[in-house]
């Protein structure tokens, strides 16, 4: 479980996050949604400690992240997996070496154990063996995202963060990625936080949804409740897509 309490963050005097509080449950896919520029990525990077917050608390289970010593933070980070928007795979390493990197860096496993773990992770995200030796520039965007997910789970993390994991992907691949993340979250009992503005993802895997507008919490709920809500800001966001407006009309 990850909990944020009364988070504030500003850049050059401009308040980007204002009094954000929320609880992200373990074993669920927790989504942060909002328009571009609403503060989703800043919130995600603040929880990860890539930005220092101005005020508030961030709890990883019973550990308060903000007050943690640098060394404790480093230790905690080994329990975190992150999937970046662009994949952020290391260009100079092959697919296989990308997954092995955190294992080389932080474990004392034998080469055979590492090989098994790499294969396990890549098979879990449906990457074929023929792609193991390829470099990130030689594989498709969808495959890069899957490899990034495999790298994120290599150290068996307790917390998984995904920043717009299906941006730039076709709808079919995007759905596969969404389902894969949900499946892994349940299988490994992780606390997963996904940053997205893709309504398909919200409907598909939004077990818990936090809607942010202009840096403030505007709505919280689940994908089952989201189409029924009367929250104006959220309605403006969702029903900007005519398909969902039509879906609600049909339902009513």
């Amino acid at each position: 479980m990850i909990e944020v309490k009364n988070i504030y963050k500003s850049f050059d005097g401009a308040n980007v996050l204002k009094d954000i509080s929320n609880r992200f449950e373990q074993g669920k896919t927790n989504l942060i949604i909002g328009r571009s520029g609403s503060g989703k990525t800043v919130l995600l990077k603040s929880i990860l400690g890539l930005y220092d917050i101005d005020q508030g608390e961030i709890w990883y289970d019973d550990r308060e992240f903000v007050k943690m010593h640098h060394k404790e933070r480093k230790k905690l980070r080994r329990e975190i997996g992150m999937v970046f928007q662009g994949g952020a795979l290391f260009d100079s390493l092959s697919v296989e070496a990308n997954i092995r990197f955190p294992l080389d860096m932080f474990t004392h496993q034998s080469p055979v154990e590492k090989k098994k773990r790499v294969e396990f992770c890549l098979e879990h995200v449906n990457i074929e063996k023929s792609a193991f030796k390829l470099f990130p520039s030689e594989i498709s965007g969808g495959m890069q995202k899957r490899v990034a997910i495999a790298r994120a789970i290599a150290l068996n993390p307790k917390y998984l963060f995904c920043d717009e994991p299906n941006s730039g992907l076709d709808p079919e691949t995007a759905t596969i990625i969404d389902q894969l993340i949900q499946h892994l979250t349940r299988e490994f009992e992780m606390t997963t936080i996904i940053n997205t503005h893709d309504m398909n993802s919200v409907i598909e895997i939004g077990e818990s949804v936090l809607f942010i507008a202009k840096g403030e919490v505007a709505w919280t709920g689940s994908n089952k409740e989201i189409l029924e809500t009367r929250n104006k800001k959220l309605n403006d966001f969702i029903f900007a897509n005519k398909l969902y407006a039509q879906l609600r009309e049909e339902k009513n």
């Binding site: 980070r77 080994r78 975190i80 992150m82 970046f84 952020a88 795979l89 860096m105 932080f106």
Partner: protein, 246 residues
């Protein structure tokens, strides 16, 4: 003010760079990779440039000493001392700042804008140390060797070009390059090479590490890095010459 900000940030980065490595074995592996990429791959360009410069300097010395009062051995001596004291250390460092420096800035800068550095940080890796320390050690290690290679091929360039151009005979040239030789000049230039190697690796790494934006900014950062490294090389050349040679 901006100057002091950069100086402060540069030294803060260096403190991070020289932090304790997470796993020494991986750093050593990275070091060998950098020696190959940054050092060994630069050997050919150093050889080519040095041969040409050695040849050009020999012809120019011969031209300016065409007066019969001067012994022809001075041509070899002038070529040798210029190569050792200035060209093979300082000029070569300026050239390498363009080749190696821009390579370092663009590599680290691209990793920054594609979030690969963030990715390392989130894993709990000291990204500054992992990415920059092997580069600094590799360049500092390889620079004295490049200096020696440059002096050797520069002298060889003079030996080949001088007689072909008809400005000096081979025995006169060989006698000249052995005449009034001070071994301290070599020590002095090796010290310079180490200092310049550190600048050529660390300054571009700094500009790459803190780049913000996209590919356009990475390109601009590379240019800024090379210009600043060149200025710093000349500045430290002046200081070291004053301290060690006078």
């Amino acid at each position: 003010m901006k100057f002091f900000f950069h100086v402060g940030q540069y030294f803060t980065l260096l403190k991070k760079v020289f932090g304790r490595p997470e796993k020494l074995r991986l750093y050593v592996r990275q070091l060998f990779h950098e020696i190959d990429t940054l050092g060994v791959n630069s050997v050919w360009i150093v050889i080519i440039i040095s041969i040409f410069i050695g040849g050009i300097m020999t012809i120019q010395f011969a031209y300016s000493m065409s007066n019969p009062i001067y012994p022809t051995t001075l041509v070899g001596l002038g070529t040798r001392d210029t190569l050792i004291l200035e060209f093979s250390s300082t000029m070569l460092a300026l050239i390498m700042a363009g080749k190696i420096g821009s390579n370092i800035t663009s590599e680290i800068g691209t990793m920054r804008v594609t979030e690969q550095i963030d990715s390392l940080e989130i894993m709990g890796v000291n990204s500054a140390s992992y990415l920059i320390l092997p580069k600094i050690v590799a360049v500092v290690f390889i620079f004295p060797f490049l200096f020696i290679i440059s002096v050797f091929f520069g002298l060889l360039g003079g030996l080949v070009t001088g007689p072909i151009a008809g400005v000096i005979s081979i025995p006169d040239y060989i006698e000249g390059i052995q005449w009034l030789f001070y071994p301290y000049y070599i020590t002095f230039s090796l010290i310079k090479s180490v200092v310049f190697g550190f600048l050529v690796a660390s300054v571009p790494a700094y500009f790459g590490y803190y780049v913000k934006g996209g590919s356009l900014e990475v390109g601009k950062a590379s240019t800024t890095a090379v210009v600043n490294t060149n200025i710093l090389i000349l500045f430290f050349d002046l200081i070291l010459t004053r301290l060690l040679l006078t």
